[in-house]
Protein backbone atom coordinates (compact mmCIF):
# COMPACT_ATOMS: atom_id res chain seq x y z
CA UNK A 1 0.00 0.00 0.00
CA UNK A 2 1.62 3.30 -1.02
CA UNK A 3 2.16 6.25 1.28
CA UNK A 4 -0.43 8.96 0.72
CA UNK A 5 0.52 12.60 0.16
CA UNK A 6 -1.49 15.85 0.19
CA UNK A 7 0.02 18.96 -1.42
CA UNK A 8 -1.06 22.48 -0.36
CA UNK A 9 0.25 25.57 -2.12
CA UNK A 10 -1.55 28.72 -3.23
CA UNK A 11 0.35 28.61 -6.52
CA UNK A 12 -1.04 25.62 -8.47
CA UNK A 13 2.10 25.53 -10.61
CA UNK A 14 3.84 24.05 -7.58
CA UNK A 15 1.30 21.21 -7.46
CA UNK A 16 2.56 20.08 -10.85
CA UNK A 17 6.21 20.65 -9.97
CA UNK A 18 5.91 18.64 -6.76
CA UNK A 19 4.13 15.83 -8.59
CA UNK A 20 7.00 15.84 -11.07
CA UNK A 21 9.60 15.77 -8.29
CA UNK A 22 7.88 12.79 -6.62
CA UNK A 23 7.30 10.87 -9.85
CA UNK A 24 10.40 8.65 -9.49
CA UNK A 25 8.73 7.18 -6.39
CA UNK A 26 5.25 6.80 -7.87
CA UNK A 27 5.21 3.12 -6.84
CA UNK A 28 5.42 4.05 -3.18
CA UNK A 29 3.97 7.58 -2.99
CA UNK A 30 0.49 8.56 -4.13
CA UNK A 31 -0.70 12.17 -4.21
CA UNK A 32 -4.32 11.92 -3.07
CA UNK A 33 -5.16 15.62 -3.34
CA UNK A 34 -4.02 19.19 -3.92
CA UNK A 35 -5.39 22.41 -2.45
CA UNK A 36 -4.61 26.08 -2.96
CA UNK A 37 -5.21 27.48 0.52
CA UNK A 38 -4.57 26.58 4.13
CA UNK A 39 -8.22 26.30 5.19
CA UNK A 40 -9.21 24.20 2.20
CA UNK A 41 -6.02 22.23 2.70
CA UNK A 42 -6.89 21.49 6.31
CA UNK A 43 -10.32 20.22 5.23
CA UNK A 44 -8.64 17.98 2.66
CA UNK A 45 -6.19 16.67 5.26
CA UNK A 46 -9.03 15.91 7.68
CA UNK A 47 -10.83 14.03 4.93
CA UNK A 48 -7.91 12.08 3.49
CA UNK A 49 -5.82 11.60 6.66
CA UNK A 50 -2.65 11.28 4.57
CA UNK A 51 0.69 9.93 5.70
CA UNK A 52 2.48 13.09 4.53
CA UNK A 53 1.45 16.72 3.96
CA UNK A 54 3.65 18.94 1.80
CA UNK A 55 2.61 22.54 2.38
CA UNK A 56 3.77 25.99 1.43
CA UNK A 57 4.86 28.11 4.38
CA UNK A 58 3.21 31.37 3.37
CA UNK A 59 -0.46 31.28 2.31
CA UNK A 60 -3.10 33.97 2.63
CA UNK A 61 -5.81 32.38 4.78
CA UNK A 62 -4.02 29.86 7.00
CA UNK A 63 -0.23 29.72 6.73
CA UNK A 64 1.88 26.58 6.83
CA UNK A 65 2.89 27.07 10.46
CA UNK A 66 -0.72 27.33 11.69
CA UNK A 67 -1.74 24.47 9.43
CA UNK A 68 1.06 22.31 10.85
CA UNK A 69 -0.09 23.03 14.39
CA UNK A 70 -3.63 21.89 13.50
CA UNK A 71 -2.34 18.72 11.88
CA UNK A 72 -0.02 17.98 14.79
CA UNK A 73 -2.97 18.18 17.21
CA UNK A 74 -5.53 16.32 15.14
CA UNK A 75 -3.43 13.80 13.25
CA UNK A 76 -0.20 13.16 15.15
CA UNK A 77 0.80 10.35 12.82
CA UNK A 78 0.78 12.58 9.75
CA UNK A 79 4.21 13.95 8.79
CA UNK A 80 4.47 17.57 7.63
CA UNK A 81 7.02 19.01 5.21
CA UNK A 82 7.06 22.80 4.88
CA UNK A 83 8.30 24.33 1.62
CA UNK A 84 9.06 27.95 0.85
CA UNK A 85 10.91 30.17 -1.60
CA UNK A 86 12.46 32.23 1.13
CA UNK A 87 12.39 32.17 4.84
CA UNK A 88 12.82 35.01 7.26
CA UNK A 89 14.29 34.33 10.65
CA UNK A 90 10.98 34.96 12.42
CA UNK A 91 9.24 32.40 10.22
CA UNK A 92 12.13 30.01 10.72
CA UNK A 93 11.60 30.11 14.48
CA UNK A 94 7.86 29.60 14.08
CA UNK A 95 8.42 26.76 11.64
CA UNK A 96 10.75 25.11 14.11
CA UNK A 97 8.21 25.44 16.93
CA UNK A 98 5.27 24.32 14.82
CA UNK A 99 6.13 20.65 15.04
CA UNK A 100 6.86 20.27 11.32
CA UNK A 101 9.13 17.36 10.48
CA UNK A 102 11.12 18.94 7.66
CA UNK A 103 11.56 22.14 5.73
CA UNK A 104 12.64 22.21 2.08
CA UNK A 105 13.73 25.37 0.30
CA UNK A 106 11.99 25.61 -3.07
CA UNK A 107 15.37 26.55 -4.56
CA UNK A 108 16.56 22.95 -4.04
CA UNK A 109 13.18 21.22 -4.20
CA UNK A 110 13.92 18.99 -7.18
CA UNK A 111 17.09 17.65 -5.58
CA UNK A 112 15.78 17.43 -2.04
CA UNK A 113 12.04 16.85 -1.76
CA UNK A 114 12.19 13.11 -2.26
CA UNK A 115 15.07 12.85 0.21
CA UNK A 116 13.03 14.82 2.73
CA UNK A 117 10.05 12.53 2.19
CA UNK A 118 12.16 9.40 2.84
CA UNK A 119 13.66 11.12 5.85
CA UNK A 120 10.33 11.84 7.52
CA UNK A 121 9.05 8.36 6.69
CA UNK A 122 12.16 6.83 8.22
CA UNK A 123 11.66 8.82 11.41
CA UNK A 124 7.92 8.12 11.52
CA UNK A 125 8.43 4.39 11.37
CA UNK A 126 11.72 4.38 13.22
CA UNK A 127 10.95 1.14 15.01
CA UNK A 128 10.72 -0.76 11.76
CA UNK A 129 13.30 -2.34 9.55
CA UNK A 130 13.91 -0.07 6.60
CA UNK A 131 15.72 -0.52 3.35
CA UNK A 132 18.24 2.10 2.29
CA UNK A 133 16.25 5.32 1.85
CA UNK A 134 18.23 6.23 -1.25
CA UNK A 135 16.58 3.29 -2.99
CA UNK A 136 12.90 4.26 -2.85
CA UNK A 137 11.79 1.50 -5.18
CA UNK A 138 12.37 -1.01 -2.39
CA UNK A 139 10.49 1.04 0.19
CA UNK A 140 7.27 -0.60 1.28
CA UNK A 141 4.80 0.71 3.81
CA UNK A 142 4.99 -1.41 6.98
CA UNK A 143 2.03 -2.61 9.00
CA UNK A 144 1.49 -0.49 12.06
CA UNK A 145 1.08 -2.32 15.38
Amino acid sequence: MPFTVVVIDDDPQWHELIAYALRPASDTLTIVGNERGGMAGLALVRRERPDIVITDLMMPDLDGVALTRHIRCELPGTRVILISSSIEQAYQLMASDSGADAYVSKSVLFDSLLAAVWDVIRRRFSGGSWPNPVDPVELQKPSLP
Binding site: S96, A100, Y103, V104, V108, S112, D119, V120, S126
Partner: protein
Protein backbone atom coordinates in the same frame (compact mmCIF):
# COMPACT_ATOMS: atom_id res chain seq x y z
CA UNK B 1 36.07 14.12 -2.87
CA UNK B 2 36.11 11.23 -0.43
CA UNK B 3 35.25 7.86 -1.94
CA UNK B 4 31.88 6.52 -0.80
CA UNK B 5 33.27 3.55 1.12
CA UNK B 6 35.84 5.77 2.85
CA UNK B 7 33.14 8.25 3.74
CA UNK B 8 30.96 5.49 5.12
CA UNK B 9 33.83 4.23 7.30
CA UNK B 10 34.63 7.78 8.42
CA UNK B 11 31.04 8.30 9.50
CA UNK B 12 30.84 4.92 11.19
CA UNK B 13 34.02 5.74 13.10
CA UNK B 14 32.62 9.07 14.24
CA UNK B 15 29.43 7.40 15.43
CA UNK B 16 31.34 4.78 17.39
CA UNK B 17 33.58 7.48 18.89
CA UNK B 18 30.55 9.50 19.94
CA UNK B 19 31.43 12.39 17.63
CA UNK B 20 28.15 11.89 15.77
CA UNK B 21 24.96 11.11 17.69
CA UNK B 22 22.77 8.05 17.44
CA UNK B 23 19.35 9.64 17.40
CA UNK B 24 16.79 10.91 14.92
CA UNK B 25 16.59 14.60 14.18
CA UNK B 26 13.62 16.46 15.58
CA UNK B 27 13.42 18.45 12.36
CA UNK B 28 15.51 18.62 9.20
CA UNK B 29 16.09 21.61 6.91
CA UNK B 30 17.02 21.08 3.27
CA UNK B 31 18.48 24.10 1.52
CA UNK B 32 21.47 25.46 -0.38
CA UNK B 33 24.81 25.37 1.39
CA UNK B 34 25.74 28.42 3.44
CA UNK B 35 29.44 27.82 3.91
CA UNK B 36 29.24 25.72 7.06
CA UNK B 37 31.28 22.62 7.80
CA UNK B 38 29.81 19.14 7.42
CA UNK B 39 29.72 17.26 10.72
CA UNK B 40 30.38 13.99 8.90
CA UNK B 41 33.18 14.71 6.41
CA UNK B 42 34.52 18.01 7.83
CA UNK B 43 34.40 19.57 4.35
CA UNK B 44 32.86 22.94 3.46
CA UNK B 45 29.19 22.91 2.41
CA UNK B 46 29.30 25.30 -0.52
CA UNK B 47 26.47 27.20 -2.20
CA UNK B 48 26.28 24.59 -4.97
CA UNK B 49 25.83 21.80 -2.41
CA UNK B 50 22.61 20.87 -0.68
CA UNK B 51 22.83 21.33 3.06
CA UNK B 52 20.83 19.36 5.59
CA UNK B 53 20.50 20.96 8.99
CA UNK B 54 19.51 18.51 11.71
CA UNK B 55 17.86 19.93 14.82
CA UNK B 56 18.54 17.42 17.58
CA UNK B 57 15.77 16.55 20.05
CA UNK B 58 17.76 17.72 23.06
CA UNK B 59 18.91 20.93 21.41
CA UNK B 60 21.89 21.55 19.19
CA UNK B 61 22.25 21.58 15.44
CA UNK B 62 24.33 19.51 13.03
CA UNK B 63 25.08 20.46 9.42
CA UNK B 64 25.64 17.87 6.70
CA UNK B 65 26.02 17.56 2.96
CA UNK B 66 22.88 15.81 1.78
CA UNK B 67 24.83 12.70 0.84
CA UNK B 68 26.62 12.65 4.20
CA UNK B 69 23.30 13.03 5.99
CA UNK B 70 21.81 10.10 4.09
CA UNK B 71 24.79 7.94 5.03
CA UNK B 72 24.74 8.95 8.71
CA UNK B 73 20.98 8.34 8.94
CA UNK B 74 21.46 4.97 7.26
CA UNK B 75 24.42 3.86 9.39
CA UNK B 76 23.69 4.92 12.96
CA UNK B 77 20.59 2.79 13.68
CA UNK B 78 22.65 -0.37 13.09
CA UNK B 79 25.84 0.86 14.76
CA UNK B 80 26.76 -0.90 18.00
CA UNK B 81 28.86 0.66 20.68
Amino acid sequence: MTRPEELREQIRGKILAGALPKEYCRMTWFGPGRGGTCAACNQLIGPDDIEVECDLPGGGVLLFHRRCYDLWADIWPSSNG
